[in-house]
Each structure stands twice: as C-alpha cells, then as structure tokens.
C-alpha cells in the first residue's frame, strides 16, 4: 500500500519539477502556462475569493450524486424484476449515454431555466448509468446454486430478491458507485458552465475569459481533490459494508 503511493508520488513530483523548470527556463508567459509555484501562490492568496465556489460545487455534487444513485438503483431493480421492461428500455439506456452532455446542457437550460433543476438533471444523467448497468449485472449474476437452494427451501420470489439477489449485487453496485462518484464532480462543473452564480465551473469560466490561467489551474486542482475525496469516501464505505469478503492478501 505505502510502496504503491510512494511510486505515484515520485512520478507526480518529477512531472511538477520538469514543468516548473521548463516554464522558468523558457520564460513561458503566465497566461499561457503558469509555473506550479505560481498556481500554489494564487491558490493561497485568493482563497477567500473562491472558497464559496468550492462549497457550492460540493453541495451540488452531493445532491446530484444522491439523486443519480437512487435513480440508477431504481432502474436496475425495475429492469431486473420485469424482463419485458428490460427488453424495451435497455437499448434506450445505452442511447441516453450517446448524447454528448455538452450538447444536451444548453437544451436543458432552455427547458428548465438557470435554476438548480437542469444542473441536477445533468449530474443524474452522468451518474445513473454506471450504477444501473453494474447493479443489473450484479443481480443477473447471482449464483444459480444459491437460487436453487432458495427455491428448494421454499423461498418466495420476494425472499429470493431481498435475501439473495440484492445483497449479491452489492459488490457490483460499489464498482458502479466508484465510477459515478468521479463522474458526478465533472457533471457538476459542466452544469455550472451553463450559467450559475457560483461554483467551481463559474470560477473557471470567469478565470479563463480574463486570461487568468493560474486560476484555471487552481480550479482544476480543486476538481481533482474533490474527485479523490468522493472516491475515497466510497472506498471506505465499501470496506465497511463488504467486510465479509476474503481479504486481498489472503487471495494471493
């Protein structure tokens, strides 16, 4: 575990060093590519100017993610329980992911205005799909031997679903959650570009239109941090909930 993060840190530090040296040696103008030290300096000095943007993005991401997860779960359960709906809706689900969000976003603004609705819709759209697909797969892959036992033991269809299929799908659900967690931050930032009065997306648009490239990088940096935090929250929850799984070391 420590050795792995150790090598990752070395790579990151060397990239930053090369970046710092080249931008200084070649004297690249700050509005094209600021040096890492310039970005850090900006991050510290104008913290009070942008911290409310970060807070607003966190709230938006959190609520969008919660809605997206619930929608994804509901769709997965519905499609699993009613095969006819699955046949009818599954292709539609995949098609929904082929519409570029960048194209869809302005349309949503036309339909729903600049309020919170189109923003939550965008995050839901990017979040629900990984959850739904992963959960449907998890439900479908339930061990047939266990299903056979449940049937022989006299379990009702409802008991087979709640006691067997649903808990069986939880590991897969978590793979979906990990993907959605990172997507949700991206979704939130994109939705803020559309028109909002605060959020990292807004801060980013303002910065880039005034050629404050250092601030754009500050925004990128915070987006990455948010992604990492969401991701590690999911991993922690996974460890707590799936404590019955054989440990990784034991497998090897």
């Amino acid at each position: 575990m420590f050795e792995k993060s150790y090598s990752a840190i070395i790579v990151i530090v060397s990239i930053l060093t090369i970046w710092e040296i080249t931008s200084r040696l070649l004297q690249i103008p700050t509005w094209i590519l600021p040096a890492p030290t310039t970005i850090v300096q900006e991050a510290f000095t104008s913290w009070h100017n942008y911290n409310h943007h970060i807070l607003s993005t966190i709230t938006l991401t959190g609520s969008g993610f919660a809605i997206g997860v619930s929608v994804g779960l509901l769709i997965a359960i519905l499609l699993h329980l009613v095969p006819r709906i699955r046949e009818a809706l599954y292709p539609l689900l995949i098609l929904s992911q082929n519409i570029p969000i960048i194209v869809l976003a302005p349309l949503l603004v036309i339909w729903f205005g600049f309020g919170i609705t189109p923003k939550l819709l965008i995050i839901t759209l990017v979040c629900f799909f990984p959850i739904a697909v992963a959960t449907i797969d998890g439900l479908k892959q339930t061990n047939p031997e266990l299903i056979h036992y449940m049937k022989m033991a006299g379990a009702t269809n409802r008991q087979i679903f709640t006691k067997l299929e649903l808990p069986h799908a939880i590991p897969q659900l978590f793979s979906g959650l990990k993907i959605s967690a990172t997507y949700s931050v991206m979704g939130a930032v994109i939705s803020e570009w559309l028109g909002a009065n605060q959020g990292i997306g807004v801060y980013m648009t303002l910065a880039s239109s005034s050629f404050r490239t250092d601030r754009v990088f500050v925004a990128i940096f915070f987006i990455m941090i948010l992604c990492l935090i969401f991701f590690s929250l999911i991993i922690t929850a996974e460890r707590l909930i799936l404590k019955w799984r054989p440990s990784e070391e034991g497998k090897r």
Binding site: N143, E145, L146, H148, Y149, M150, K151, M152, A153, G154, A155, T156, Q159, K163, L164, P167, H168, I170, L242, W244, R245, P246
Partner: protein
C-alpha cells in the same frame, strides 16, 4: 411425525422419459438412500419433491398430504454447501427458518456448539474448510422448520478421509432426533453405512429395481465397514447395480 409416499410418479422432459411409475416410501424416523448411477434421474426426483416441477403423473404425499408442485414442504441440503458468503455461519444456519418465521438464535447456537462448530459461529463461510461448510449446510437443513430432510449427494465433492469423518458425524447428529431422511448418493459404501434401507435405482427411466434392508445396529462406527456382513451386503448391492449397467 413425517412420512413420505411416492406413487406412480412419472416425469419426462420432451420425449425423454426420466421417471416412470416410480414408487417408494419413507417411514417415520427412517433413513432411506436412493442409490443409482449418475444421470439416473435422482436430482429430478428431488426437484419434484421440492415442488420445482410438477409431475406428469402420480402423487407425492408428505404425512398423507399431496405436495406435488408445492415449494417448501421439505428441508433440503444440496450437493454444494450453497452458503451465503455475506452471512456469518450463525446467520447461514438460520436462513432456512428465516423464510418462514423468526429464527431462534439461541437454539441455532446450541446446535452449532453440539456440532463442533462453536469457534466458527461468527465466521464467514470462506474461512471454513469444505467439510466444515458441509456441516453448516447440514445444520441449516436440520434447523429448517420442515421435519422431512432431503440430502442430495452432500459428500460427493469431499475427499475420502473427510467423507468418512462426515458420515460418522452426520449419523451422530441424526441419532439425536432421528428425523426422516431421504438420502441420494452414488456411493455404495456410504449408502450401506448410513441407511436403514437402500433403494437401487435403474436408469432411463428411473425405477426402483431392488430394495435392501440394512439391519446393522445403531450407533454404527467406522469398523462396521470392514466386517464380512457389511462386505456381503456391499457385494449384493454392487451386483445389482452392475447387472443394471450391463443391460
């Protein structure tokens, strides 16, 4: 009180008859084995008793009540342990009860302790050996509310040493309450060692071709399998089975 009577049971899949006019019974407190080669329709018999399929013809009566096509009338132990990996051993053994009523955890704990699994009550299935998992699966079927137990080749995946251990263990647990048991196997020695009666099945379609009463005293121990009386029975059963295979 639980007896099983099977009469004129017939079932075919497509044009392939699997069971034809199958007839046998299990008395109260009796341990009966169905012995037959692989593919002789043993599993189909269980699926019919378990109510997963409906017979084409004939009846299955448990304590005098018709149960064909009714799920959940018997307690069942499958070939593989089929434990739920996210449940602890205690939660696994109470699963059969849980489907019908609120499980009695204390009773389950006592049962696990008596079965030599006291150290594993809160463990997860992946922490147990194959033989241990089969023990858990058997306890689960004993604890299930249905008094009639069907065991479907439960030891076929175990090695010879573990298998003998398990057979002795199974008898010791069974001896305590003596529930009626229908045991399916393709192992002659196992059938003789465990049963009060052996029904030899002929294949395609499955029929009872011969019945053996096994009169050895209980409790039985491992030395029994080496006595000449035991070997005589084994020979007789073997010849019946071989005769069936030669046809």
């Amino acid at each position: 009180m639980s007896t099983l009577e099977i009469e004129q049971l017939s079932k075919s899949f497509g044009s392939q008859p699997i069971l034809e006019q199958l007839q046998f019974h299990v008395k109260e407190g009796e341990f009966v084995s169905l012995l037959g080669p692989s593919g002789s329709g043993k599993s189909t018999i269980f699926h019919l008793i378990g109510g997963l399929y409906k017979p084409d013809y004939g009846s299955i009566r448990l304590n005098g009540n018709e149960i064909s096509g009714q799920k959940g009338s018997i307690s069942y132990m499958p070939q593989t342990p089929s434990l739920f990996p996210w449940r602890t051993i205690l939660e696994n053994v109470t699963l059969g009860v849980e489907l019908f009523e609120k499980p009695d955890k204390e009773k389950a704990k006592k049962m696990l302790e008596r079965a030599g699994l006291a150290d594993y009550i809160d463990a997860y299935p992946h922490e147990l050996s194959g033989g241990m998992r089969q023990r858990v699966a058997f306890i689960r079927s004993i604890l299930s509310p249905q008094p009639f137990i069907c065991l479907d080749e439960p030891f076929s995946a175990l090695d010879e040493f573990t298998r003998l251990e398990m057979q002795k263990w199974l008898l010791s647990i069974w001896d305590e309450e003596r529930p009626s048991v229908l045991f399916v196997t393709h192992n002659i020695e196992e059938a003789i060692f465990l049963s009060d009666r052996i029904l030899v099945l002929g294949s395609k379609p499955a029929q009872v071709i011969k019945e053996f009463d096994i009169a050895f005293d209980r409790p039985r121990n491992g030395e029994l399998t080496l006595t000449s009386e035991f070997l005589d029975v084994k020979k007789a059963v073997y010849q019946t089975l071989r005769g069936e295979l030669d046809d």
